[in-house]
């Protein structure tokens, strides 16, 4: 297998949690980017949360997201339009089994090109019970700037819990 994945940076949330994880000054020397998550948020009242992803610190209304997901009781879909971030669903919360973390990854092709930026991601919330959710997500940032910063934020919770991790990889042509 060609050595095309290179770890650019990683972070593990410390005690007290973190409101966001912010990768800055991302080099433009790769073809694609890939972010791998192991996340648990402090959301209560639900066994599912999502992750907001924002690029270059740019808010506004240039993001859209579509997601399909299956839970312990059925399948559904939803979308977000004109938001200040793209949303990836689903991850674990304070109400899921203790010490379990949702996991997933987001792929960002052609992140340094001059076209709008699309993303795809898949995530699952871990919960040792019927209610657990798996989601497939498509996102679009209607902006032609090269991505040099990625900020991850909980969608409904306010903190990523301790021991949550995020790994940012650069992907080069084989």
């Amino acid at each position: 297998m060609p050595d095309t994945f290179e770890l650019i940076a990683s972070s593990t949330v410390g005690s007290g949690g973190a409101a966001n994880i912010d990768f800055t000054s991302i080099p433009s020397t790769y073809t694609d980017l890939c972010v791998k998550f192991s996340i648990r948020t402090n959301r209560t009242g639900s066994v599912e949360d999502a992750i907001r992803i924002q690029f270059n610190g740019s808010g506004g209304t240039a993001y859209t997201s579509r997601m399909v997901y299956g839970s312990g009781t059925g399948a559904a879909s939803t979308n977000y339009t004109s938001t200040a971030y793209t949303v990836s669903f689903s991850t674990s919360t304070a109400d899921t089994t203790a010490n379990t973390f949702g996991n997933g990854e987001m792929y960002i092709p052609n992140y340094a090109g001059s076209t709008n930026k699309s993303t795809s991601s898949d995530l699952v919330s871990e919960n040792n019970a019927t209610a657990a959710t798996a989601g497939l997500n498509a996102g679009l940032w209607s902006n032609t700037a090269a991505i040099n910063r990625i900020t991850l934020t909980p969608n409904s919770g306010t903190l990523f819990n301790q021991y949550s991790t995020a790994y940012l990889y650069g992907v080069k042509n084989a």
């Binding site: 650019i8 940076a9 990683s10 972070s11 949330v13 410390g14 007290g16 949690g17 973190a18 409101a19 966001n20 994880i21 912010d22 990768f23 800055t24 000054s25 991302i26 080099p27 959301r43 009242g45 639900s46 999502a50 059925g74 559904a76 939803t78 934020t153 909980p154 969608n155 409904s156 919770g157 306010t158 903190l159 940012l168």
Partner: protein
């Protein structure tokens, strides 16, 4: 005099230098964070309520027609 609880922190990783910084949120950032979380919870609650209403309406219709969901699928196939 009561001392103020520290605000939550965020993590910033500079990919060029590899330096990771733990930065305390400003009061304005904390307020925005809370507001955004409330908005997200409201949207999800609305979606859940709509899904529940749809399921109830479907069950009521099946009951009124006196057929099962499988029989309804057969009719539409």
């Amino acid at each position: 005099m009561e001392s103020k609880m520290p605000n939550p922190t965020r993590i910033e990783i500079n990919c060029e230098t590899g330096v990771e910084s733990i930065i305390e949120l400003t009061d304005a950032e904390v307020a925005e964070l809370t507001y955004q979380a409330e908005l997200a919870a409201e949207k999800k609650a609305e979606e859940d309520a709509q899904a529940e209403a749809n399921a109830a309406a479907k069950a009521a219709l099946l009951d009124r027609l006196d057929i099962t969901a499988e029989e309804a699928k057969l009719l539409l196939a």
